[in-house]
Symmetry: C2
Subunit: 419 residues, 2 copies
């Protein structure tokens, strides 16, 4: 890894917190009251919480949240999602037992709290606003996440295609590499790609999928991305593999996509687009897609509209927003695109994330040479929390295949996807 | 057929029309102006129109609309969709050439007119309001359509299961009977039915699907319908086939569904529910469905919200409304149901309708013994127009499979549907 050492999330101890942190004495009556208020809002959560002086509440299940100091407790009460993440990253909150299981129980307890409206306090967990997706803001947001360093992602993504999106595990015991190949093939089959066709890809990551399409399906690809690190990486990769004449990697925003295509595909970009821009995305597709072409959008989503987890939105994925299917229809309905097929691959994403986290954990020593402790803990929390979000149904993964409303050159049925 | 003879749609010649109708002389300048206005709003429509005196406009393609009298012309101009249907039924408008092809061209020309906003006159084609779906109104609407007489539908639906919904043709050359069986099996496989499970069916037609599930999948079914003729028919059928102990046919509205089930299924009822009641339908499912159960809703829909064709809504399917996918999400999102799979079977419905129309045409003599000329022409127009609506993409057919958001007992993927 060639990035400068000691990169961090920019988390710092605040002065007041440091004072709190130094309060190593016993918990006060107010501290105990606050802890009991928090735990009362998490009915039957299946874990316990302990303060710095050993005061404990909740169920004895081997899963425990430890507040190391008074400041940590009071900050969590004020803005639970964001502060839990930051304080865990800083080591001022610790978790004993399996982090994923604890987060799953936390998600489920939060969902119960929300459904039953047991406590107005829970609205605090949903107080984050996604950032707007102007062109400049979009660039900043994307740079925040994807310019961390290609080498960092190489440590834990699949080694063949560098896919930072949900894989597809149609058979038991598949490796991450095989599952990412299966995902790419599944998308290509849904698009019914044929040799000689022109594909436009909106958001290409490190370029692995574009190269896969060109190599295995004989298509030419024009692919767009605004992360300069990824664009550079992808261009070198295409040149190395002798595919530069059939895959063009363009550093530009999806709104500036030009040209015509037989297939329009976007895997893992919609999360960064923002609902207010969905109609624009639909117009981009309308401008490009051949009369009998197909389009596919693959995106993290939700069962109902709701904001991104505040901490992930702030620290990991600025500007990210996972839409509901109803919200996704704002891409298609204004121009009367016809949705042909929607598949929800939620549990495949949990599987993918478990594979990523296992590799991340294996390579933690390498990561630590470049990134500070708060970063490495934050990233692990992000991966673990994402597993929990998919296993508890807080997040979904939608693949939406569509065509123009007037296209009658449709596959007879979906059996060809499973041959 | 045992129904009283001379049933009709209740269309009568109005006094003023009759006067117009008797005007057998030449077309006036005003008549010719009106005809040219109508045809100008249908750019490149691919057919011609002719007045009662031989005045003709449009393209010479072997397809022609004939206005038999002045009243017919002026009524069509006022409310095109409704009046075209009524006047065709009455024989005051005739069509030369293939009715389906002409209607397809009309649909496409209308869509072009709408997209290009060439003419304010086109808004007339969208002036019908669907009727509200109160319990009493729902009963009236359903009686209007389904109490026409079971024998009438037996003349042209499949002979095995009396399915008045889209069939599924996974292989070439399938009969209507085989395709309806394939549809029922496709739905049962999507629901992953297992012997011993309890199924609730909302809207059961003549009961063929409920009996199929009980017979071939070993489940017990509680099925609801508000058409008394259909309920009587279904109960007799269940008794005759020795399935009355495992299939209960209940004459009641979907809003009164009670009990618990492992699978909730509704094939072709949502069209009659009305968007304002979708959240209620979701609540019904939420009350009934087991934690790890599946639900499937099969419905005619649209690529974007829009009213039903006014004539069909008025004369054939009172209260019918085909929702967009975005509108369908109002069933699922309020209670965070998770949509697992959406399949659009639009062209399968066109195929189904062609099979129905062929049988209807074969049996026209039998129909004419009971129904008057305006009825038999109206029904043929309805079948032909529905083919055109599906082939031109004006209508869609969605199958939406869903589960509770917390259900992790999901099929690994969809390959089991295609084994």
């Amino acid at each position: 890894m060639t990035r400068p050492a000691n990169r961090s999330l920019g988390l710092t101890q605040r002065k007041a917190d440091a004072a709190h942190g130094s309060t190593r004495g016993g918990a006060s009556a107010a501290d105990r009251w606050l802890l009991s208020t928090i735990m009362a809002a998490l009915p039957r959560c299946g874990f316990s919480a302990m303060l710095w002086d050993g005061t404990a509440l909740g169920e004895q299940t081997g899963l425990r949240v430890l507040f190391r100091d008074r400041g940590a407790l009071w900050r969590v009460a004020r803005n639970p999602l964001v502060e839990f993440g930051d304080l865990y990253s800083l080591g001022r909150i610790e978790v004993e037992g399996d982090l994923v299981v604890l987060l799953e129980r936390l998600y489920r307890a939060m969902a119960t709290g929300r459904t039953k409206r047991r406590s107005a306090w829970w609205w605090l967990w949903h107080d984050q606003r996604p950032r707007a997706g102007s062109l400049n803001r979009a660039r900043e947001n994307i740079h925040h996440h994807y310019n961390l360093g290609n080498e960092f992602y190489r440590l834990w993504l699949d080694r063949e295609a560098m896919q930072y999106t949900c894989a597809y595990y149609p058979a038991p015991g598949m490796t991450l590499e095989a599952a990412q190949r299966a995902k790419m093939d599944h998308v290509c089959r849904k698009l019914r790609l044929r040799p000689g066709q022109r594909v436009i890809e909106a958001g290409f990551g490190w370029g692995g999928f574009a190269l896969h399409m060109a190599r295995h399906y004989g298509v030419s690809v024009r692919a767009y991305n605004i992360s300069s690190e990824q664009v550079r990486y992808a261009r070198e990769w295409a040149a190395r593999d002798g595919l530069a004449d059939r895959v063009e990697f363009i550093e530009d925003d999806y709104r500036n996509i030009r040209g015509h295509c037989d297939a329009f595909v976007s895997v893992g970009m919609l999360e960064h687009v923002g609902v207010e821009h969905y109609a624009e995305l639909g117009e981009v597709v309308d401008r490009c897609l051949a009369p009998n072409g197909f389009g596919l959008i693959h995106s993290i989503g939700r069962n109902a509209p709701g904001r991104m987890n505040g901490w992930i939105e702030r620290r990991i994925f600025p500007g990210a927003y996972p839409p509901s299917l109803g919200e996704m229809m704002k891409i298609f309905e204004p121009l009367r695109f016809s949705v042909l097929d929607v598949e929800n691959l939620r549990l495949h994403y949990a599987h993918t994330l478990r594979d990523w986290r296992a590799r991340y954990t294996e390579n933690l020593e390498t990561v630590r040479r470049v990134y500070d402790r708060s970063f490495t803990r934050a990233w692990d929390l992000y991966l673990a929390g994402s597993i929990a979000a998919f296993t508890t149904g807080s997040l979904q993964l939608y693949q939406v295949l569509f065509a123009r409303g007037t296209n009658n050159d449709l596959p007879a049925n979906r059996s060809d996807l499973y041959r």
